[in-house]
Symmetry: D2
Subunit: 122 residues, 4 copies
């Protein structure tokens, strides 16, 4: 997240957003933010969202995630959001979304799902 200059911008039980300012080096040849950057923000947000529901000292690992890229990612700010849809004993399922701010308005550009493995702390 340091590499992307990202920080947690919203933190609730089961819902986390991670934001960063867009930078030229996030973009691919055609000026859109790289799918990997979007996926990084989303994956981190989902992991933290799961962590927010677990006891202190717990750890999480991404088992898998899938993202659909629905709109070109352009804009001055990016944010990834993770929301826990189901928390089991060892596995959490999160909904992921990535939005960009374009002329003051947030637009969804990627959406997906994630399985998180939860190693519960004491």
């Amino acid at each position: 997240m340091k590499l992307l200059g990202a920080r947690i911008s919203r933190l609730e039980k089961g819902l986390v957003e991670i934001s960063t300012h867009n930078r030229p080096e996030f973009s691919q040849q055609d000026g859109f933010v790289h799918a990997g950057v979007c996926a990084s923000l989303a994956d981190s947000a989902g992991g933290y969202a799961a962590l927010s529901l677990l006891p202190l000292g717990s750890r999480v690992l991404s088992v898998e995630f899938k993202m659909n890229f629905t709109r070109p990612a352009i804009g001055d700010t990016l944010r990834g959001r993770g929301r826990v849809r189901k928390l089991g004993k060892t596995i959490a399922v999160c909904e992921l979304e990535v939005e960009t701010r374009q002329r003051g308005k947030w637009v969804s550009c990627a959406w997906g799902s994630q399985t998180v493995y939860c190693i519960r702390g004491d």
Copy 2:
């Protein structure tokens, strides 16, 4: 890819590898390379693999990808590989894999699939 210091290390028709040296800032809290970094390498490799089969001037867009993370990503070098499994008129399906080099040996740490939308050049 510049952000990750990555470069194309293998380029065949329908098969592309992208490699980079591991760096501390790629890692998350527990010392493993972030899932998003792995996904970035893999997604780029898949896109280039599709592009390698298309006429000059073509462009590609990731429609979606999914990655399963099968082993902790540790090691001195990372590489993502994309291989086209099916090329249709407008859609290509690629197999993605990420490997890390640990004590001179390549170990697979992530594996997945990708749908690429192909805008064919003339």
Copy 3:
């Protein structure tokens, strides 16, 4: 859908539900409805949801789908729901959900995403 005795139980622009009564032959060894049955209902619902937004005479094809199975699928009735999240010129992205009715209450047991290829009619 005939094989599953399923029928469309809700039809709005961009939102379709397909329902069926649960039957012993839908279940696997442990009494839960087979993941493939759930996926079938969801995939069909998503395809019809996309179709509901397209001109008459259009056709749709599933490019891919992914389902997370979040709870054991038990109950007397099953329903799959597809909702279009993004309709592009040739590609639609749908959210899929499968619910079962257990003692009169609907419970979500699977959730996922789908890419649909749209061949527009005249």
Copy 4:
């Protein structure tokens, strides 16, 4: 599997195939085998492939799967194949493939990945 008239046609450690004869009621409006039927065969094959590597008395549950549909599924026979790519303590990752036999030749029509939760017997 009974509903589809399917049976295990190949069984090795970590690799299982499940086959069935194609039937009119497997097809959707355009004569192709329904994506859900393909997914059912593949999901079952993957589950059994994981089970084949576990101690007697173990059970498996699909956590998630994703399928890309790469060619129209037509032909007289269908088979789904599951191959374990990584077996961990509680989670297995399988590669899934569905093939149809067309004029005596097997053709791949769907390909994907699956996460299986393993409840180990004694």
